[in-house]
């Protein structure tokens, strides 16, 4: 349930880069610690998504009448549920579906937001205005209630239906940001030049505009995935999704309806929540890194924390850091300690 209002900063102050932005984009992955951390978490999740169903110790649906509500033990590393099912197995099996839905929804939503957002920004007049209005409407409409209505009407929907529904409700934010970015770019010289030389609109959009919007597209993609995963887990938690495979939201649904909290069965409801929280955390961190790339001022690059602190204490005052000791003027009481001038000096004649 995030609001990436950093994107709104892009909207009001679109940072326009020259077309050589491609290489810098890839350098992100090596230099930003946010991006590294986020990707690491994501990689771990992908790993578990693949091997989870393989390494699971038990069949997650297998009931047992003896091992009911057991705390973690050697047999059941994460304990068991009310019906004797192994929590760890259920957890492991949940990686795949969650990532799958999130990604699917993210891809579809991002594709839609590019088409509508860039279109709204590039084409002036009623076409652009209409697309913009469309995205604003979808932005305001509250997602979860609508999802509840939709999913309750068709309880047997496959996961791709959910992906589409999530995408339909999730593309609007990205569209709006891309529209702002496109408007800024479309006024730039290199686009005007391309237009003047007769390039078709599609070519301009595809080759001139979109490459420069790559970081923003990336951010909105990640944001959409976060929203999709969050909404999907919420829907499962509400028991609205008819699942064939286990996922974390459904685990929480059963946990809650079986009073896991009052029974103190923390091993049942804490791990799924953490599982969801961690992947979302990883994605959010990824977005922080992307934000810093889009708006380099957000980064405190190359400056130590102490210097940052001193500089910010002295807002609006350029620091004086002398490279060489001052020629003795005979009267100055300035002390150059290491790199900073720390006291005042008055020349007395």
């Amino acid at each position: 349930m995030t609001v990436n209002t950093a994107l709104s900063a892009v909207e009001t102050d679109p940072i326009v880069r020259r077309p050589a932005g491609g290489r810098r984009f890839w350098s992100l992955f090596t230099r930003s610690k946010w991006v590294t951390a986020g990707l690491a978490i994501f990689a771990v999740y992908v790993l578990f998504a693949i091997i989870g169903p393989i390494i699971k110790p038990y069949d997650p649906s297998a009931l047992s009448y003896t091992a009911i509500l057991q705390p973690p033990s050697a047999h059941h590393l994460l304990g068991t549920t009310q019906t004797g099912q192994d929590v760890l197995s259920q957890l492991l099996v949940g990686f795949g579906p969650t990532l799958e839905i999130g990604f699917l929804a993210g891809v579809i939503a991002t594709a839609m937001s590019i088409i509508i957002g860039v279109g709204a920004g590039y084409f002036a007049g009623s076409a652009g205005e209409g697309l913009s209005l469309l995205s604003n409407i979808f932005l305001v409409i509250p997602q979860l209630p609508l999802l509840v209505v939709i999913s309750s009407l068709d309880a047997h929907a496959g996961s791709w239906v959910y992906a589409i529904a999530l995408a339909v409700l999730g593309w609007a934010w990205g569209a709006r940001v891309l529209r702002a970015q496109t408007i800024a770019l479309a006024g730039q010289d290199f686009v005007l030049a391309a237009k003047a030389s007769g390039e078709s609109a599609w070519r301009i959009i595809l080759f001139e505009i979109l490459p420069n919007e790559l970081p923003v597209v990336a951010t909105s993609f990640v944001f959409t995935v976060v929203g999709a995963i969050g909404s999907y887990v919420a829907l499962c938690f509400l028991g609205l999704v008819n699942i064939n495979s286990w996922n974390w939201g459904t685990m929480l649904f059963y946990a809650q309806s079986n009073q896991a909290m009052s029974d103190g069965a923390w091993w049942w409801y804490v791990p799924p929540g953490i599982a969801v929280a961690l992947i979302l955390l990883g994605l959010v961190m990824l977005n922080f890194g992307l934000d810093e790339f889009i708006n380099p001022r957000l980064r405190a690059a190359g400056i130590t924390r102490k210097e940052l602190k001193t500089a910010s204490k002295q807002q609006g005052i350029t620091p004086v850091i002398r490279n060489r000791p001052r020629a003795p003027s005979g009267v100055s009481s300035a002390i150059t300690v290491g790199d900073e001038v720390t006291s005042t000096a008055r020349r007395h004649k």
Partner: protein, 328 residues
């Protein structure tokens, strides 16, 4: 068109869109909702012909009229305030059920949003101004908080604060057995019961405002007028609040719409977990009863409420930004 006129026009269009979506969804989905409802209803009580008629208009089954006619009929029904009959609370009308629950949600969500916006904005402002201080830690912490699912935090909160520590009540909107009246005792009990749910919402949604304000401040601090303000010797505090923050906050209102939508969605789940007698509760009860009419009614009302809240936010925006006050 002035700013306000444009916004109002937008809200009208969106409200129309919401109604239209409501109209089309059951007609697009497979299955026959009317039959399900009918069977549910008849299990609960007698089904009058007028109820049946209303259902047919709502869901468009068993009619011979064209789609367009159905659409007009649907609007006609809405304008009369007829949202259908509730199955869950038979024989009450959907409208009355919602009307009863709405104030609770508005109170909870309204207060939470305001608190989280104010606190988040203040912290965001300070953390951008004093970079390198401990407030920089606010960023990763808020990243973590942003990632937590609302309802899960609510579950934990109940477990820790409600059950284990017993500081707060773990469910309900007010103490059991109390009658709903505007007595001090009732208000006191209601407020006490609202604390934990509100705290849950505030803690998880505040992060978005914090990060947003921080990033907007950093961009704003680069503006010329901030440099001028510092050059002309105005106090640091005034520069931070009146020159930087006052300008940085304006784009936040643009994202208010989305933020509010998410908070509302999240609070539905919080209400479920806390058994709080608000709209979310109504919605979720309706789900388990296949009470489609109620679900649709709730969706519509929530959308209108969100639009109204956005309208209020726009009013605040006009107050804050002199450029919006007069637009040719």
């Amino acid at each position: 068109m002035t700013y306000m006129a444009r916004r109002i026009a937008f809200y009208i269009v969106t409200a129309w869109a919401a109604v239209t979506i409501n109209f089309f969804i059951p007609r697009l989905m497979p299955g026959n909702p009317v039959q399900i409802i009918m069977s549910r209803l008849s299990a609960v009580g007698p089904v009058t012909p007028s109820m049946q008629r209303a259902l047919e208009i709502q869901f468009g089954v068993n009619t011979n009229t064209s789609l367009l006619n159905q659409y007009f009929q649907y609007w006609g029904q809405l304008v009369h305030g007829n949202l259908g009959t509730s199955i869950t609370d038979y024989p009450a009308s959907v409208a009355s059920v919602i009307a009863q629950a709405l104030p609770w949600t508005i109170g909870l969500v309204g207060a939470s949003v305001i608190i989280s916006f104010v606190v988040g904005t203040i912290i965001g402002t300070l953390s951008a101004w004093r970079r390198g201080s401990f407030l920089d830690g606010a960023l990763p912490v808020s990243a973590f908080l942003q990632a937590l699912p609302y309802f899960w935090v609510a579950l934990l909160a109940i477990e820790v604060f409600g059950v284990t520590l017993g500081w707060f009540p773990d469910s309900g909107g007010y103490a059991q057995g109390m009658t709903t009246a505007l007595t001090p005792a009732f208000i006191g009990s209601a407020s006490y019961h609202a604390l934990l749910p509100a705290a849950t919402i505030v803690v998880t949604s505040m992060a978005g405002w914090m990060v947003g304000q921080r990033n907007l401040m950093i961009t704003t601090l680069d503006q010329d007028y901030v440099l001028v303000a510092q050059a002309k010797g105005v106090s640091q505090r005034r520069v931070m609040w009146m020159y930087a923050a006052r300008n940085a906050i304006l784009p936040q209102f643009a994202s208010f719409a989305v933020a509010l939508g998410l908070v509302v969605s999240g609070s539905l789940l919080v209400e479920l977990v806390f058994s709080y007698p608000g709209i979310g509760d109504v919605l979720l009860n309706a789900v388990s009863n296949d009470d489609y009419s109620t679900m649709q009614g709730v969706f519509l009302v929530i959308t209108l409420a969100v639009l109204a809240a956005n309208f209020l936010a726009d009013l605040v925006y006009v107050v804050l930004d002199p450029r919006a006050r007069q637009e040719a």
